[in-house]
Amino acid sequence: MSLLALAGVTAGYGAFTALWDVALRVERGEAVAVVGPNGSGKTTLLRVISGMLPVRGGTLTFDGAALTGRPAHEVVAHGIAHVPEGRRLFPNLTVADNLKMGAYLPRARTRYRETLERVFGLFPVLAERQLQRAGSLSGGEQQMLALGRALMSRPRLILLDEPSMGLAPVMVLRLFDLIRRVREEGYTILVVEQNVRQVLKLVDRAYLLEVGRIKMEGRAAELAEQDFVRKAYVGL
């Protein structure tokens, strides 16, 4: 049984339907990417999974539990941490307080110190900047903090929305290295990215989303070889 499974998921905003009949699964320990052009529904897909946007139809199952229609704060408690578009840090709280909020859940709170050590081990720069306001960090540091904050809840699945957005090319490479290290720690990751070339090197499998529908699915290496994907997204 898959860790995360979506079947026939349809969702949207007002009269606009952003996702049509989406089926997707993520296995334990796997890294999966959803790629696609701007406005294809990638962010909406993650928002539906984390409960920020209600589904219109279809089902969401996580580790055998039905999550369809559950509000965001309950979905997190099941073990899904969402690093949202634009990072959404608490800009006027310190780095340390942002991480503390990541461990808000009772079961995460009791192991707060231990998790904090692990996060500082992955991102030493966060330890150095603990007392700084989150809003004063550089873009790359903010992305690390957003990732670290998500890890603080001790999740079983991490949703990453465009981690490379707004970062300088050098920083993008460093960030993907860090995400790779997070992966090696055994976390399951579902990432949506426009930076197709980089993300296909990181994940096991990928889905191609276009205008709200899944157009293609496959092993990352196979997908990267497809002429269609290469021309449209990888730029080779």
């Binding site: 969402h82 949202p84 608490f90 307080d97 995460a108």
Partner: protein
């Protein structure tokens, strides 16, 4: 020319008044900063708490500390009730409706208090000594409430900066949706915030009943002033509200000695209006 000792005494009285104003302003500002709604009737909740302490202490003979604790609990309950019964159902509606609803609560509370207790002024008199420092009289009935206000504000600061829930309250005020992604139910955070705001109203009510008499329109005496302080300090800005409390209390207190109490309020309002144009984001806001 006024004797400098009077001015010094007025300045000290201003500080003593400022402590209680800060308690009121920070209670109101905390709720606004987190829930984004101004409780127009905030000081009318304080009025109810003053009546409670009056009846418990003056009429039923409870010790002052017991009346105070009862007022804290009552204030917190009132805060939760206002949130669940009035604010929660209209959270998604237009801001003007929210103002009308809490404004309506103000008229309801004033009328209901008049109906129950008439317009008589009631007070609890404590006979506590005054002491003199460098020629300035310091009545303990004002010094003790000031000290308690400051201690309460320190406790609030520690709560908001050192505890999980307090930090979550500040986080919700910055990004509610992101905080729900951390596993916090925003509705629960709102209830806790309203309870803390109500608790502060309960404390303010206890401290005020020993200095002022309570009547159904007590809210008119401190309500506009409290709201003005919050705007002057920058709505939602706790440090700004704290500083603004003392600016306003000093203006009222010193102008009250130089001219008259009425003139003190006139000058305070003029300063407020000028500052609204000069620094619309509050005294501590960055320009631009």
């Amino acid at each position: 020319m006024i004797d400098p000792i009077f001015l010094a005494e007025a300045a000290v009285n201003g500080i003593l008044l400022g402590g209680i104003l800060a308690l009121l302003a920070l209670g109101l500002n905390l709720i606004f900063g987190v829930i984004d709604i101004v409780w127009i009737a905030y000081v009318d909740l304080v009025m109810l708490c003053m009546y409670l302490v009056y009846f418990l202490v003056q009429v039923y003979g409870w010790p002052v500390w017991a009346g105070g604790l009862a007022s804290l609990a009552f204030g917190a309950l009132l805060g939760v009730a206002v949130h669940l019964l009035i604010i929660s159902p209209i959270l998604g509606s237009a801001p003007v409706n929210q103002l009308l609803a809490t404004g309506g609560l103000l008229f309801f509370l004033q009328s209901f208090a008049t109906f129950l207790w008439t317009t008589d002024h009631r007070s609890v008199r404590l006979s506590l000594p005054s002491f003199e420092v460098a020629g300035i009289f310091l009545p303990l009935t004002r010094v003790i409430p000031f000290a308690i206000s400051i201690l309460a504000l320190i406790a609030l600061y520690v709560f908001l900066t050192r505890t999980f829930v307090g930090t979550a309250i500040r986080a919700v005020s910055q990004d509610r949706e992101a905080m729900s992604l951390m596993g916090a139910n925003p509705q629960w955070i709102y209830v806790v915030t309203s309870a803390v705001g109500g608790l502060m109203a309960g404390l303010a009510g206890t401290l005020l009943i020993f200095q002022y008499s309570v009547h159904p329109f007590f809210g008119g005496q401190f309500g506009p002033l409290t709201f003005m302080i919050c705007v002057l300090g920058g709505l939602g800005n706790m440090v700004g509200a704290f500083v603004a409390s003392f600016i306003m209390s000093e203006i009222i207190s010193i102008a009250g000695v130089v001219w008259s109490t009425e003139m003190g309020y006139v000058i305070a309002f003029v300063v407020f209006i000028v500052m609204i144009f000069a620094r619309p984001g509050g005294i501590l806001a960055r320009r631009g």
